[in-house]
Symmetry: C2
Subunit: 228 residues, 2 copies
């Protein structure tokens, strides 16, 4: 069985867990801890990068793009693509996945996860300490802008990159779900994004994420509700 080294709240790891379920690949999950990578991970990725997938034949795919594209190349088959069926559709999927992995991550998920979660598990020398409230407020202020963008795409196209579910949806949902775990999303102000997220949230591939519990941090009251 393939092994996935992951962080439970990291959006990149969450996307790959969803993708594995969408492709129908049963996987052994190995949870990594901040600032303390497992021996199994360090052996194949000295930098301790997550997500890292070790396939049955020993192939190692390390980092979000490598794992995501590797699964598409080896597990999508003829009908199971999560990137799209034409080069143009695939370019649009990758544009949007990168949008969430770079811009949403830099503006929202990385600062919130850093300040509210990661720093609690690090020593002072590793960068641990009390949260930077100004950084948290700045990240919170960017959320409505991204919800509007998601809502507009979902209303125009059914799914974010087009007619069918793609890695763009999984990327966006992975980031949003991490932020939602922390109770940071005011869904009532973004009805179109909420409808899209309800559809994602009710997929079987999303269910394992809803039972996640990050050590020392209770999820928000509606995190696991399909009717939120």
């Amino acid at each position: 069985m393939p092994k996935l080294h992951h962080h439970p709240l990291e959006p990149y790891s969450r996307r790959i867990r969803m993708a594995l379920a969408e492709y129908g690949v049963a996987t052994e999950l190995i949870e990594e801890r901040h600032g303390n990578a497992s021996a199994g991970l360090i052996t194949v990725s000295p930098e301790g990068i997550t997500p890292t997938l070790i396939d049955d034949d020993g192939t190692v795919a390390c980092g979000i793009e490598a794992v995501s594209e590797y699964l598409e190349e080896t597990r999508a088959g003829e009908r199971g693509t999560l990137y799209g069926t034409t080069p143009a559709a695939r370019a649009e999927t990758r544009r949007l996945a990168a949008w969430f992995d770079r811009h949403f991550n830099a503006e929202v998920s990385a600062p919130l996860i850093d300040e509210k979660v990661t720093r609690r598990f690090l020593t002072r020398e590793q960068g641990g300490g009390p949260p930077d409230m100004a950084r948290i407020r700045q990240a919170q202020g960017r959320i409505p802008y991204h919800l509007d963008y998601i809502g507009a795409l979902a209303e125009a196209r059914n799914w974010l990159a087009g007619e069918r579910l793609s890695m763009a949806d999984l990327a966006a949902a992975a980031h949003l779900s991490a932020v939602d775990y922390m109770g940071e999303i005011a869904w009532s102000g973004a009805p179109a994004a909420k409808l899209w997220y309800q559809r994602i949230k009710s997929r079987p591939s999303f269910r394992p994420l809803l039972s996640d519990h990050v050590r020392g941090m209770t999820p928000s009251a509606t995190y696991a509700d399909l009717d939120f």
Copy 2:
């Protein structure tokens, strides 16, 4: 003829210019200016993201991963792959390309380009102003570490991701060449990386980059020399 919207010193744009030449795709280059995207770019990418490729059939690929993978899907043919011929080789190419695009970029190229170039072309409101010397020195301090990594890979494998030239080499060379333009690389201290860079630099695909001149900034004395 396809159109590429690019920034001359941006590593992502530089990688795509090299890739286009390696794939043998003649392209019209449209130079973008900081803080002032062209009308042609804004029409297809409201955020003004570079590199953006507009293909002859109107297909738009926007951002480094989308453009890079799009070219591989549509231009590599049977023998011209820049990712590799097996899923494992392709995963290793993508791991390394992401290493340079994320870690080298965050630690070295982005801070140096921001502080030494970009800020000179922005208004105070846009973030312009004098360079932050502490940030420059911190970035400079990380360069030897990355040169060692490149040298070790090149000595072990011929090219960075394996036996043949790949997007990993182009990604690393694109970042290094931007930093080299600014005269920030002490090649004499990194003989293995230097040998690898000499091989890259002598490829026809690299030549157009060597004649680049960024407005208001003269390249370092040895930037265009094949014997540096």
